[in-house]
Symmetry: C2
Subunit: 219 residues, 2 copies
């Protein structure tokens, strides 16, 4: 395809620009003392439910906030707002991922120094978000038991770009005959030593361990 | 972002090139008398399981074949090959969707006139594949009950680019308290009049209706 060299060049420019903005954001987050966690996963892996539980628990003890990305609708922001934490929706139109500049724009009007944690929920997509640094301190990749154990092998880049894997919807593990050993082996094959958490937003199982992991991190 | 006009221009060129190749493919498929069905969905919505069942059933009565796209691994091709139908894997590397040129390359060595049906399983992604015509006659979008009823509203473009919606993993509908009315209303809100099929690849429920729908279509 004759377009290829131009695509690569434009793509490199976009990524370079994104990295610059992400670096600025990371400095701002650090100065303000806010710990930033981004969440990536397939559509429907349970990012919003997990985040709603997380915000609800954290909101009792500190100041969390969230940005949530979707192509269309502000349904997720409405769901997350039930936690009482500040939430803003980023609507991307047809864009398949969040970029650092969108995060910066969305933060307008918020005083970062008032926040302890900022969560950024990406568009549901196991491919495209992997290349875009959002200035976060920690990137979670969520994998629901209903998606199958092979996803780390089939989408290695996103697992490699993340810091922690969260296996979600574990209340359904028996119903779908989830193979825990295969899933964990596949995660470790792609990213040896990766920390794996297991949660059910429905039953609350695993949430205390997650909150403890999060709040015990150095600031 | 100063890159935007160049991105739009390059993207338009890619899509134009893709449309040209897709048009040529569509003519070849028509001349060869092969009916081509593409499948798009989130990662883990059950495309491969659904396709394995479909190929196994069709292979008893006619000549189906399949191309299957993934970023990495040829696991899906190996699964589909159990159906005894011809199958080829397309590995996209970091590319988040299939393009018509990849389909054309993958078809090299196959005589289309020997086939009755060709299935093309796209990379698991509810965003990016929507813009790429693959020369198919019919595009299915799969939505598993475990993903939630809101996905059509949140990923409207892909539902608009598809011809038929297939609700998968219906054996799990009760376990996840799937709201059938909301799901169907959301599909119809995005694409009024869209045909909806309901299947479980695990129990076989809905497969006869799907096969009947497929084989009763005019050539």
């Amino acid at each position: 395809m004759t377009n290829t060299p131009r695509i690569v060049e434009v793509r490199q420019n976009i990524l370079k620009h994104n990295d610059e903005v992400a670096r600025e954001l990371r400095e701002e987050f650090h100065e303000a003392g806010v710990f930033v966690v981004s969440l990536v996963s397939s559509p429907g892996a349970g990012k919003t439910a997990f985040l709603e539980q997380t915000l609800t628990i954290l909101n009792r003890q500190c100041h969390p906030a969230a940005l949530v990305g979707d192509l269309a609708t502000s349904n997720d922001a409405a769901r997350l707002a039930r936690s009482q934490a500040p939430v803003k929706q980023i609507t991307t139109g047809t864009l398949c991922h969040l970029e650092a500049a969108m995060v910066r724009t969305a933060l307008d009007g918020w005083n970062l120094a008032d926040l302890d944690f900022l969560f950024i929920e990406n568009v549901g997509n196991l491919v495209c978000p992997s290349s875009y640094d959002l200035g976060e301190n920690l990137r979670l990749v969520l994998l629901s038991v209903t998606e199958g154990e092979d996803k780390p092998l089939k989408y290695p880049t996103i697992f490699n770009s993340a810091d922690v894997a969260v296996i979600t919807k574990i209340d359904l593990a028996d119903a779908v005959e989830f193979d825990w050993t295969a899933a964990k082996d596949n995660i470790q094959a792609v990213r040896p030593g990766m920390r794996i958490l297991e949660v059910s937003s429905k039953t609350g199982q695993g949430m205390p361990e997650w909150i403890s992991f999060l709040t015990s991190r150095p600031a």
